[in-house]
């Protein structure tokens, strides 16, 4: 510039006006403005690209990206044959935007028809099973609470048919969202044991709660970018976290058998006016539970249909009671195993027995002194006779046997809140308890524990852990968390055999023998009748009647234990005996047990 100016001067041209002070100022001003604007842009650029870069990027992604939950599927609970007892299905919530609930146009047969809100509500109601007015009320309620309400539920957890019916209406202000739900295809079959989930999917009871570590899934999330028309932009899919499906719980239950047992039990419980009842079927050789039935049954699909909350659990696991005479089999087995008496030993059983320690024992009915063997004592279910055999062992010895049989300790099923029953240490027994424990009073057991006692006798004296769950089946098919299945010897083989023979005599000679007769099979069984506590430390006038036994007695395979609480119309063992007969017949038939070949032993009951 200077060069040009110089040359202008040399050429004698009139001074260039650009050289004037005002022009200089103008130039300076322009340059300054230029720099200022550039500086402004620079600052803004740094601000956008560096200072706010992260938040702006996040905003931009947020504007065009869609995040969605990828639901992990909660594992199934299946029975031993793979029948699904509890499964996860997808249900849908129909939602709407109340503030946008306005008339809209729909093309019907090529013509545009205006649909009013009331008409739309009626159409939705027809699809979801509500009235149109109910939906209009939902809209007005939502708008009343918030005049700009943009969200309200029309219907929750509907199935895909309803969802499609609503979607076909093409109402622009209705939407849907996924809502995974739990379904129990077999209804109340094993329902008490399965438990249920809350509406939010939180396990509330039973296996759902106890095996939650196996069943629980983890939801993942997925983010992708979409174009203006909602179509996913190719290659933009970003899976942030993978969803993890839960494992399947494989139970030892046979759902068909469980249904039969529940049905049979419920019929008899209703017939006899019982408060509640349980039945347990156990594999004698493995300790696996084949069926656990509770009356009243709860349908986990409709938990609210069972009014009494206590009926929603499984009393077979959680309710302990004084077992009564079914417990005499344990005392007899202990005496025989210790070798202090044999099947030929005899005692004199009076109606009332007053042992030297001050206890007071009497039988259920008045009778003269009787010369009885162990067999006779069990057939007549004599408390005094049992006391005379039981006192051959010390309290400590009997306590040791009880512990070995699993009394006083919750079984190995791992069922949530399973009751272990009450068994005080022998040195805390008072005089009466010392004798009462010989015939099943002064201690409590669950139906499972009674079943386990008979399983031990049936399985040649080896107690197997009570097993409800085979394990947790992972996605690759492997079973994890398989429970320990190591048995423990409680009785010698000969003591177990002798006890089994005595119980077989009971089956043949008991006063209920005509009610539990299963032709073709040898069966060992014992009845029990025990007073029920009134909840205040005393006894009510209700009885808990039960039958436990196993078959075929010559090669025991199945244990059945039936308990009926307070059957007001028939409060004797005659109430559970036919149930035992029906269930055991069904079990033997179902599993094709070979009818017994050899004849049953014939033991003397008197001497």
């Amino acid at each position: 510039m200077r060069v040009r100016n110089n040359s202008a001067r040399k050429a004698g041209v009139r001074p260039n006006p650009t050289n004037s002070p005002s022009n200089r100022r103008r130039t300076f001003f322009t340059v300054a403005m230029l720099f200022a604007v550039i500086g402004l842009f620079l600052v803004r650029l740094v601000d956008i690209q560096v200072v706010q870069a992260d938040s702006l990027t996040a905003d931009s992604v947020g504007n065009r990206s869609v995040g969605q939950v990828v639901y992990g599927s909660r594992g199934e609970i299946v029975d031993t044959n793979g029948v699904v007892l509890a499964g996860t299905v997808m249900r849908y919530n129909i939602t709407m935007s109340p503030v946008n609930a306005t008339p809209f146009k729909r093309t019907v047969d090529g013509k545009k028809v205006e649909i009013s809100v009331a008409e739309a509500a009626a159409e939705i109601g027809a699809a979801t099973g509500q009235t149109g007015d109910a939906i209009l009320l939902t809209i007005s309620n939502a708008l009343e609470a918030n005049s700009k309400a943009n969200f309200a539920y029309i219907a929750q957890k509907v199935d895909v048919d309803v969802l499609r019916a609503v979607q076909d209406l093409q109402i622009p202000w209705t939407y849907s969202e996924n809502s995974p739900s739990r379904v129990y295809p077999n209804g109340a079959v094993a329902g008490n044991m399965l438990g249920y989930l809350s509406g939010e999917g939180v396990p509330q009871a039973g296996l759902e709660s106890g095996e939650d570590a196996c069943l629980a899934s983890t939801n993942g999330s997925e983010t992708y970018e979409k174009g203006a028309d909602g179509v996913r932009i190719p290659g933009s899919s970003v899976t942030s976290t993978e969803a993890v499906d839960g494992g399947d719980v494989v139970t030892t239950i046979d759902s068909d058998l469980n249904w039969f047992v529940q049905q049979t039990l419920a019929a008899r419980a209703q017939e006899t006016g019982a408060a509640w009842a349980t039945a347990v079927v156990q594999d004698a050789k493995t300790g696996k539970l084949l069926a656990v039935a509770d009356y009243p049954s709860v349908d986990p699909n409709n938990v609210g249909g069972t009014k009494n909350p206590e009926d929603r659990g499984s009393r077979a696991f959680t309710e302990s009671f004084e077992p009564g005479s079914t417990f005499k089999a344990l005392t007899a087995a202990s005496v025989l195993d210790a070798g202090v008496a044999t099947l030929d030993s005899g005692v004199v059983a009076p109606y009332r027995y007053l042992p030297s320690n001050g206890a007071n024992i009497n039988d259920s009915h008045s009778h003269p002194d009787q010369n009885m063997t162990m067999t006779g004592v069990l057939i007549d279910s004599s408390n005094t006779g049992m006391s005379k055999f039981g006192e051959m062992l010390t309290d400590q010895q009997r306590y040791g046997y009880m512990k070995a049989f699993g009394v006083g300790t919750a079984t190995e099923t791992g069922f949530p809140r399973e009751d272990g029953g009450i068994l005080h240490p022998a040195d805390e027994w008072d005089n009466q308890t010392s004798y009462a424990t010989m015939f099943g009073q002064g201690l409590t057991t669950t139906a499972l524990q009674v079943s386990s006692i008979y399983q031990t006798i049936a399985n040649d004296g080896v107690r197997m852990p009570v097993q409800l769950v085979e394990g947790c089946r992972q996605a690759d098919g492997t079973l994890t968390n398989v429970p320990d299945a190591t048995g423990s010897r409680v009785l010698s083989e000969s003591a177990a055999k002798d006890t089994s023979d005595v119980l077989e005599m009971v089956y043949q000679k008991s006063w209920v023998s005509s009610k539990w007769n299963i032709p073709g099979y040898r069966v060992a069984a014992k009845t029990g009748t025990a007073q029920m506590p009134d909840g205040n430390g005393g006894y009510s006038d209700g009885y808990l009647v039960s039958v436990s036994g196993f078959a075929p007695a010559d090669d025991a395979q199945y244990v059945v234990s039936v308990s009926i609480a307070d059957p007001v119309k028939l409060n004797t063992s005659a109430a559970p005996a036919p149930v035992f007969q029906e269930i055991m017949s069904q079990v033997l038939k179902k599993y094709r047990a070979v009818p017994s070949g050899a004849t049953a032993p014939d033991l003397p009951s008197t001497w």
Binding site: V231, W259, Q263
Partner: protein, 194 residues
């Protein structure tokens, strides 16, 4: 840079073969020779390169456009296939749910009862070794277990028993209906049971 090399090689040719050198270079002294500038118009015209470059760029742009259109088209296809897969998955889940529901013991028992079947929990065996009949044979009268379902299943609410379905559902129109007794060929004596 390639231009320079070309000139050097051309000048070597000219210098050594074409005509007498204008000034004798001193290769021994410096290792450089004076070379004549290459004729700039030799070979293809520059406009050709420019056109080639522009055409190449245009081709790339068009190709990229086509590719991106193709990918977008693919995205729409994927989107529609995915939504149809989701719909089919829903249908499959819904149908298998129905299947599991009707296979439940309650449904089977109710349907069997509806068809006039009774359950018999009274096992009777014929032992082949000695012909002994084990158990007391009795006609099935329907045990307690065959009574109305005492084991509820809320999922079956509203479902219809097979026996209560209208006839046209049970036997579709295409089903074969036997209207007359099958014809027995002559000469084959029909066994008569007495």
């Amino acid at each position: 840079m390639s231009d320079n090399l070309a000139r050097v090689s051309v000048s070597i040719g000219q210098g050594s073969i074409g005509r007498e050198p204008f000034e004798t270079p001193a290769p021994d002294r410096h290792g450089f020779r004076l070379v004549a500038p290459a004729p700039s118009r030799r070979g293809r015209p520059r406009i050709f390169y420019a056109l080639t470059a522009v055409a190449g760029m245009a081709a790339i742009i068009v190709a990229q456009l086509l590719l991106s259109v193709g990918i977008s088209q693919g995205a729409y296809e994927i989107s529609s296939l995915q939504s149809s897969r989701a719909e089919l998955g829903r249908t499959a889940a819904s149908v298998s749910e129905d299947l599991v529901r009707v296979s439940s013991p309650q449904s089977l028992a109710a349907n069997a009862e509806g068809l006039g079947m009774v359950s018999n929990s009274n096992p009777v065996y014929l032992r082949l070794s000695d012909g002994a009949v084990l158990g007391a044979p009795a006609s099935a009268s329907g045990s307690q277990a065959g009574a109305a379902s005492l084991v509820p299943n809320a999922l079956l609410t509203g479902s219809t028993l097979l026996s209560q379905l209208p006839d046209d559902v049970v036997a579709p129109s295409g089903a074969v209906t036997i209207t007359s007794a099958p014809v027995v060929p002559a000469g084959l004596a029909a066994p008569t049971t007495r």
